[in-house]
């Protein structure tokens, strides 16, 4: 249905691009690839499809509420649906957001390269230190402060840092 005023959908997308990721507030839910679709159903009802990053991410409820609030602030009636398919991948994070993550101190995720993905994979990709740019880094923990991150240390500048998991 395309009876909404021209540009109305774009306006909702723009509003959603101001919804920050609650755990990494320098990036928003659009550039993280969390918002999958925006469509009008009637004059003022908007359906937003969002997809969970990690299925146990505790920030999902916060994100869902924040998306609904942003749509309401445009004078529209939101319906936020959670879609599982296709599954979220870090490949959907935009180039701009990757730059923001790195400047924030989180090494952005490497391309997933699904083809070579084994069930037991002991060597993870080496991330670049977001502080000094060195690849001479070592993993400290495959789990970090949130489900989506790992903890590393840079051997060049001795700084510990977090990296986004490639998913």
């Amino acid at each position: 249905m395309v009876n909404a005023a021209a540009g109305a959908t774009e306006r909702v997308w723009a509003a959603l691009s101001h919804v920050a990721d609650p755990e990494i507030p320098v990036v928003n839910v659009v550039e993280m690839g969390i918002v999958r679709d925006v469509r009008f159903e009637g004059e003022d009802r908007v359906v937003v499809d969002m997809t969970p990053t990690f299925s146990a991410c505790p920030a999902l409820h916060v994100i869902r509420d924040a998306i609904a609030d942003a749509v309401r602030a445009e004078g529209l009636i939101p319906e936020v649906r959670t879609v599982m398919s296709p599954p979220w991948t870090t490949d959907w994070i935009t180039e701009e957001a990757r730059g923001k993550l790195e400047r924030y101190g989180i090494a952005p995720p490497a391309p997933t390269g699904e083809a070579g993905m084994g069930l037991i994979q002991l060597t993870a990709d080496v991330p670049r230190c977001p502080r000094c740019g060195s690849f001479d880094t070592g993993i400290r923990n495959t789990f970090g402060s949130t489900l989506c991150k790992t903890i590393h240390v840079c051997h060049a500048c001795s700084e510990p840092f977090e990296a986004f998991k490639s998913l």
């Binding site: 969970p52 990690f54 299925s55 146990a56 991410c57 505790p58 599982m84 398919s85 296709p86 599954p87 979220w88 991948t89 993905m117 069930l119 037991i120 994979q121 002991l122 993870a124 400290r140 923990n141 495959t142 789990f143 970090g144 402060s145 489900l147 903890i151 998991k165 998913l167």
Partner: protein, 262 residues
């Protein structure tokens, strides 16, 4: 998805009942193991591992929530009510996940055996003809990879570490291994699900799991015990430990009236 994919309205009654039983078994294993892992929070040997095990516990809990939501689509049940208001007799968890957390080696060897099982099972479930199950599996399989990577490393580290860490890991494996066949035992009516391509054949899952884990255990300096020849107990027969675990896990929720929202 292909246009032949099944939905909740196109399952027949027998498939629906069997799928409810299978989803409950999947969820209960993850929920109970999640609780056992969470018992380490604040007690793990080093801070990084405290964080790692908390992450793994959180993932498994999230996955239990996904399976119970899929069950809810079929019978209208509520995931929180199922988790907090069922007694041990109504649970369908496997004995492997019910055993007390033991020492660090016991916890990590168990987690490795279970992660490998879950990774193979979920990998094969991605091809399910029941669309909601296939979609959930494709999501979860990507997360499980991180668990297996972590626990496989720990098994290697403990197995090849010191005499003491090897001894404890071997003792853990000797106790845990006889419980593993139960993971691959079908739930009532499961053959109808396999025939319709809704769930993978567990015998096939076991055929992939066995060489995967035995090769890694052997690489890690551990001896794989003999598999018991007797058929595994049904998922209705629990260890004595489940009731005690549930008493603690459900204690707060049960002090409130059903339906209380916090």
């Amino acid at each position: 998805m292909t246009d032949t994919a099944l939905t909740s309205s196109t399952l027949d009654a027998a498939q629906r009942d069997a799928l409810i039983a299978r989803l409950t078994a999947l969820a209960d294993d993850e929920l109970i193991l999640s609780h056992r892992d969470a018992e380490w929070v604040g007690h793990a040997p080093i801070l990084e591992e405290d964080i790692a095990l908390a992450n793994i516990a959180q993932d498994e809990l999230g996955h239990a929530g996904v399976w119970l939501s899929l069950r809810g689509d079929l019978d209208g049940s509520d995931p929180d009510t199922l988790a907090f208001r069922r007694d041990a007799g109504e649970y369908r968890s496997a004995r492997l996940v019910e055993l007390p957390r033991g020492d660090w080696a016991f916890t990590l060897v168990r987690q490795f055996l279970f992660d490998a099982y879950e990774a193979v099972l979920i990998d094969e479930t991605c091809a399910s003809t029941y669309a909601p199950l296939a979609e959930a599996a494709r999501k979860i399989v990507r997360e499980e990879r991180f668990h297996l990577q972590h626990t496989a490393l720990w098994v290697e580290r403990l197995g090849l570490g010191t005499d003491e860490s090897n001894r404890r890991s071997q003792a853990a494996l000797d106790e845990l291994w006889p419980h593993t066949p139960q993971l691959f035992a079908p739930v009532p009516g499961e053959e109808s699900l396999v025939a319709a391509g809704i769930v993978p054949d567990l015998a096939g899952v076991q055929a992939r799991w066995t060489p995967l884990v035995t090769a890694h255990l052997a690489r890690s300096g551990l001896r794989v015990p003999a598999t018991p020849s007797a058929p595994p107990a049904p998922r209705t027969e629990h260890t004595e430990h489940l009731a005690e675990l549930l008493r603690e896990m459900q204690e707060v929720a049960r002090q409130e009236d059903p339906g209380t929202v916090w």
